[in-house]
């Protein structure tokens, strides 16, 4: 169990590192979009590449941060009923949900995104708009994102089991308040 927990913490660190780093791309998207808007309306210049890089960046942010958000327990839950249940029961829901729902779902989507990625890379697919960007880097984001999510799912399952065994405090996976 101890080594499993070490494994879980390693996953946590990995996703925290990725999540925190990738977040900054969101700021880059904001600045690029604002600059592109000014350039387009002020100087009447612009290109599809500038427009596309914005959604590339934003896609990178929301896809690669998802695992970190899972670690922070930021994904929204409906706690109208669940909020009244004892913590041990909730830990069980997360364990069963993780094994039955999260892992298969993320792995299936990651798996089935490979063929179109490989194809896109093979034919070096470009955006259909003139001046658009090459496509495979964004397609690559999908399997990476869902694999990271699956990894984080494993970590969460291990931590919940650790909690049930009294080896992990509940604070380790409670949702942190945004207001902090």
């Amino acid at each position: 169990m101890k080594s499993l927990l070490r494994f879980a913490r390693a996953i946590d660190r990995l996703n925290e590192l990725i999540g925190r780093g990738v977040s900054w791309l969101g700021l880059a998207a904001v600045l690029i979009c604002a600059a592109a808007a000014i350039a387009r309306y002020g100087m009447n210049i612009g290109s599809n590449a500038w427009l596309e890089i914005q959604w590339y960046l934003n896609a990178a942010v929301f896809l690669l941060v998802a695992a970190y958000a899972l670690k922070r327990n930021d994904h929204v839950r409906i706690d109208a009923i669940a909020g009244r249940l004892p913590p041990r029961f909730l830990a069980w829901i997360d364990i069963v949900g993780g094994i039955v729902a999260l892992l298969p779902t993320t792995l299936i989507i990651a798996w089935y995104s490979w063929p179109s990625l490989a194809n896109s890379f093979h034919i070096s697919e470009y955006s259909s708009d003139p001046g658009g960007l090459i496509r495979w880097p964004v397609r690559l984001l999908i399997p990476v994102s869902f694999t990271l999510l699956a990894l984080q799912g494993v970590s969460e399952i291990i931590k919940r089991v650790g909690f049930l065994k009294g080896m992990v405090p509940a604070s380790e996976f409670e949702r942190r308040e945004h207001a902090s």
Partner: protein, 493 residues
């Protein structure tokens, strides 16, 4: 016969999973996938369905209107974390301090403004929840009133022009976006007024729920207050009006407006020397995680709806519709109830792309004015955002509200506003002229690209329920649809 049961079962399964408290995004995706695999096993669906899933994710990634979500979230967070937004609402509190429920009115007002700037419910609710909720809690407003008024005002983005919903609906129905805007203006502003009236009623009946700003907090008077107004109110208001103005006169798209707004907020925070490294890092990280969970709810619901259509969920719905007695009125009532229920788990893009093409021909046959019908649907979809327990606006608010605000507070707080919404839906059904008389010139100018889009949508529709391949093709189209919408948006302005 048993195959017909899959769609209802799927819906029931989702409800159970959600109520267990598993994250919404993964519950949606899992229910979709599980029933998708069942459908493949039973031969209802093609295995190609699974390959369509990553394409759907790509479609969400490439949706440029959704870009407005992180931009406006970042703007809201910077304004909030740097203390500027709080200062703003504080000053408004000082100004309207003597009035009971003053901050609540400010929220409705700011909500209508934000609605007009963002047109994105998630962004409005997140920004207002971050900015207003702490202030209202500090002033002693009841949690229910605060969360209700914030969620409701946030959803005004659905209906007040330049609402994205109206653009999508206009395109789907083949009507003009401009007419849709004109038709929606009265119901939208009417709702804002009704919200304020409700605040007034609460402040009279239950004064302790909507207190005036306590006297010891009203510290500024006279010249000092005027000075405060200039330093704390004018800059953010200028920012809001710049964002709003450029979007309204058509210089900027909502996405660009959001980026400019966020950049402007950064510049203002810098100028006020309130932008620390720590603050920026927190704002950027919170924006990223919030965007992530919002987008993943969309990813989940797209998986769900793809399969739901695949197992003939749409036919199930259509069949329910065909047995409606009562002609046009019966149809309207049933359609509204149905959209209301569907919107629990489908977002408005999904409804617009799945349901509206099914409903429009029937409405046309019954001689229903399409502008009226569209506005009606838009008001209705707004209601569904607010409806406990699955209203998306409530999820969003829950995610930014402090723990001391209970989920039940958010639910109970939303109910009066849901009633107001239903009242408005009923009013619009009863008095179509409220919508149609505001639409100038009966010679409806067809929205550019709308007919073409309509044709495309109808082309993809017949194949959709049977084959797993069709949704993939449909994706391609909805990609086009997004660019069409943007183009239409620009030309309308």
């Amino acid at each position: 016969m048993s195959l017909d049961l899959i769609a209802p079962l799927m819906f029931a399964g989702l409800v159970v999973f959600l109520m267990l408290g598993y994250p919404v995004a993964f519950s949606l995706a899992f229910t979709g996938l599980a029933f998708g695999l069942l459908g493949i096993e039973l031969g209802m669906l093609q295995p190609a369905l699974l390959q369509a899933l990553p394409e759907r994710v790509l479609g969400i990634m490439a949706n440029s209107t959704l870009l407005a979500i992180p931009f406006f979230t970042l703007m809201g967070l910077i304004l909030e974390r740097s203390g500027m937004a709080e200062e703003l609402l504080d000053t408004v509190g000082q100004l309207f301090g003597a009035i009971r429920g003053g901050v609540a009115y400010a929220v409705v007002f700011v909500g209508a403004l934000l609605a007009a700037t963002t047109g994105v419910v998630a962004a409005s609710v997140l920004a207002m929840g971050l900015i207003s909720l702490p202030v209202m809690m500090r002033y002693g407003y009841s949690n229910r009133l605060s969360s209700g008024v914030i969620a409701a005002s946030g959803t005004l983005a659905q209906i007040i022009p330049p609402s994205l919903v109206l653009i999508v609906l206009a395109d789907q129905m083949g009507t003009s976006v401009g007419d849709m805007y004109e038709g929606a203006l009265f119901p939208g502003l009417g709702l804002a007024v009704l919200y304020a009236v409700w605040v007034l009623i609460v402040s009279i009946v239950k004064p302790e729920a909507a207190p005036a700003c306590p006297p010891e907090m009203r510290t500024l008077h006279g010249a000092k207050l005027v000075g405060k107004v200039f330093t704390s109110m004018i800059p953010p208001l200028v920012l809001i009006f710049l964002v709003l103005g450029t979007i309204f006169i058509g210089v900027a798209t909502p996405t660009e407006g959001g980026a400019m707004g966020a950049s402007g907020a950064l510049v203002m925070a810098l100028a006020k020397r309130k932008l620390s490294w720590q603050l920026l890092r927190q704002a950027v990280e919170s924006t990223a995680t919030m965007t992530s969970f919002v987008m993943f709810i969309l990813v989940g619901s797209t998986v769900f709806s793809l399969v739901f259509r695949g197992v003939n969920g749409d036919l199930w719905v259509e069949r329910l519709l065909l047995h409606v007695p009562g002609g046009a009125l019966g149809f309207l009532v049933v359609v509204n109830v149905m959209i209301f229920l569907l919107a629990f788990f489908l977002d408005y893009f999904e409804i617009a792309f799945i349901m509206v093409p099914l409903l429009t021909p029937v409405a046309q046959k019954l001689g229903i004015d399409l502008i009226w019908f569209g506005v009606l649907l838009a008001v209705n979809m707004q209601t569904s955002f607010l409806h406990p327990p699955f209203g998306f606006a409530l999820f969003y608010l829950r995610s930014v509200a402090p723990k001391s605000v209970k989920t039940t507070d958010i639910y109970w707080g939303a109910i009066p506003f849901v009633c107001i919404q239903i009242l408005m839906v009923a009013t619009v059904i009863a008095f179509p002229r409220l919508v149609t008389s505001h639409v100038t010139a009966a010679e409806t100018v067809k929205g550019t690209g709308a007919e073409e889009l309509q044709r495309q949508m109808q082309e993809m529709q017949p194949g959709a329920p049977a084959a797993g391949k069709a949704p993939a093709a449909g994706d391609q189209k909805s990609d086009d649809a997004t660019s069409e919408i943007e183009r239409a948006l620009k030309e309308e302005k």
